[in-house]
């Protein structure tokens, strides 16, 4: 999809609560997805990835869920901390099975004290 300009979707959560960030992707043939975190003034930082032959993958405090039927990804962050405040992007291959990525528009996560 196209960018959403200056107004990113924002998710506000209380510190300690769980966060769920959603992403819709466009290409049903995409075989690999990545979640990135971008803190203010910094470059994107890898969080977790998942291949299309899986529907769930867990990392440290993060879980990615993949629903290929509806072309939907979600990132779950357990026990959200202030340091989790950032913009989160999902990324899928630029072309079918490609090695370069197109990023989603991003969701801003704000952690409230």
């Amino acid at each position: 999809g196209e960018s959403v300009g200056l107004h990113l979707p924002t998710l506000s959560v209380q510190e300690g609560d769980n966060s769920i960030i959603n992403c819709a992707y466009s290409n049903s043939a995409s075989d690999y997805f990545i979640w990135y975190k971008q803190e203010s003034g910094k470059g994107p930082q890898f969080i977790i990835d998942i291949r299309s032959n899986m529907d769930k993958r867990q990392g440290q405090r993060v879980t990615v869920l993949l629903n290929k039927t509806v072309k939907h990804l979600s990132l779950q962050i357990a026990a959200t901390q202030p340091g989790d405040s950032a913009v989160y992007f999902c990324a899928e291959p630029l072309r079918n099975y490609g090695q370069n990525f197109v990023f989603g528009p991003g969701t801003r996560l704000s952690v409230l004290p």
């Binding site: 200056l6 470059g43 994107p44 992007f89 990324a91 090695q99 370069n100 990023f103 528009p105």
Partner: protein, 113 residues
């Protein structure tokens, strides 16, 4: 921890001027990338580079753009004649193989006046 480094962190230039953005990828990485992010928008793929040649480029990467790996450590992005719409944050990224995690630099902010 090894990291991708970029210089300058911020460059201001006049429209029509040439700009070179520099990157030092992680030393044992073989695949190199440039992405850009217009303020408040999503990260966009520009170009990928492997074995001293461009492996893929996006529609954004027109004849005004070029990349070079002039020595064993640097990877540069040149914009021949900058336009106002080239104002963005430019991120360099690298990875050891053509799958898996992309490591991003902190970015170079380009402001075209």
């Amino acid at each position: 921890e090894p990291e991708v480094t970029q210089t300058p962190s911020h460059q201001v230039t006049q429209m029509g001027q040439e700009v070179i953005l520099r990157c030092v990828p992680i030393s044992n990485h073989l695949y190199f990338y440039w992405y850009r992010q217009i303020l408040g928008q999503k990260v966009e793929f520009l170009v990928s580079f492997y074995n001293n040649e461009i492996s893929e480029k996006s529609e954004i990467f027109d004849d005004q753009f070029s990349v070079e790996r002039p020595d064993g450590s640097n990877f540069t992005l040149k914009i021949r004649s900058t336009k106002l719409e080239d104002s963005a944050m430019y991120f360099c990224a690298s990875r050891i193989q053509n799958t898996g995690e992309l490591f991003f630099g902190e970015g170079s902010r380009l402001t075209v006046l």
